[in-house]
């Protein structure tokens, strides 16, 4: 009799002990968690960004005179174009010379956001023109770049994915560039849409050098026979 009545009591005692231990573990875990969460830590302070990282680093172009030491005219012409190519292949120029109907943007040359397409005249589709967002000049507050002629280069003048030599041959082919050599020089040296590349606003990295230096290099390249790299 005594043994039989003791059994459920012992079982209850064992269950109570298990729950008691589990409860203690839960309380201990909560306690440790609170200690961890409430333990005083140093608050992260904002730090000023170094001034040089706020502004795009300027890259220079070599002057035409730097190429005078190359005696062989053809080699000098190719070297001049390779210096010109540092501008042509900068994202400021390449972004609007895409190989598709869509421009790219930023230094990383991501697809343009929002989705846009060149349309019939390179100025966007009829119902989503470039001028929906891009004005005649850069907009300071929004950082949206602008120029009165903002548009894509013709698809025949697609540069993205092409070698510098291919770009060179494209420029010299009036069927693709739609320009004579005189017009080409004017476009490079004086066109204010090209000039935007040195005044891109919005913290963007300008093209190397200045438009005047670039124009002088293009002129020297044309004068030396407009030779192209391979």
């Amino acid at each position: 009799m005594t043994r039989r009545s003791d059994r459920p009591r012992r079982r209850r005692f064992r269950i109570a002990r298990i729950f008691g231990i589990a409860g203690l573990l839960v309380v201990a875990a909560i306690g440790l968690g609170l200690v961890y969460l409430l333990y005083p830590r140093p608050v992260l302070q904002s730090e000023p960004i170094a001034v040089e990282t706020l502004y795009a680093q300027l890259e220079s172009l070599q002057p035409v005179s730097a190429f005078d030491t190359i005696v062989e005219p053809r080699l000098r012409s190719v070297a001049l174009f390779e210096e010109v190519g540092r501008v042509l292949q900068s994202p400021r120029c390449m972004n609007c010379h895409p190989a598709t109907d869509r421009p790219t943007q930023t230094e990383a040359m991501w697809p343009h956001m929002p989705w846009v397409s060149r349309g019939l005249d390179g100025g966007g589709e009829a119902n989503m023109r470039c001028t929906t967002c891009h004005q005649a000049q850069n907009a300071e507050a929004s950082g949206v770049p602008g120029n009165a002629k903002w548009s894509l280069a013709p698809i025949e003048m697609a540069w993205q994915g092409k070698s510098l030599g291919d770009i060179c041959r494209q420029l010299l082919d009036p069927a693709r560039s739609h320009m004579t050599r005189e017009e080409l020089l004017h476009h490079m040296a004086e066109d204010d849409l090209v000039g935007w590349a040195w005044n891109p606003g919005g913290g963007r990295q300008p093209a190397p050098g200045t438009q005047d230096e670039f124009g002088a290099l293009v002129a020297a390249w044309l004068e030396t026979g407009a030779q192209c790299p391979q």
């Binding site: 956001m113 929002p114 989705w115 846009v116 397409s117 589709e125 009829a126 119902n127 989503m128 023109r129 001028t131 929906t132 967002c133 891009h134 004005q135 005649a136 000049q137 907009a139 300071e140 507050a141 929004s142 950082g143 949206v144």
Partner: protein, 156 residues
Amino acid sequence: MVYAVRVNGSLHKVEADGQTPLLWVLRDTLGLTGTKYGCGIAQCGACTVHVDGQPMRSCSLPIEFVGSAEVTTIEAIDDPIATAVQQAWVARDVPQCGFCQSGQVMSAVALLRAMPSPSDSDIDTAMSGNICRCATYNRIRAAIHDAAATLRGEAV
């Protein structure tokens, strides 16, 4: 500097820095708060207004570039196309949170003025710069088709 801007049919004299976005002149100076500030960098389309009938992002349009152009905001679009768009918006219960909707409606009205019977592709192109965080895109597209059908005299 003082600028004279023509907004919703009235000429307003506004004193502002030339680079002040039209959006802030509309909202803060003229009290036309139907045009919304979304991203401020011409990525979302919430601030879309019509400038000489063309949809433009007012957040990236400095006041000095507005010149003598006629600016129309959501408060003043009032023609059969705008009415058809508004009715289609209500019938389709397009807005969810509603924040982007004035920009969506302005772009939709501009689209239908230029293109009375847009295809899905035309709508996608025209509306690609108007982002909706609630993803009401399907209802927007359906409502534009409904408005176009109404304007053609077809039953919706």
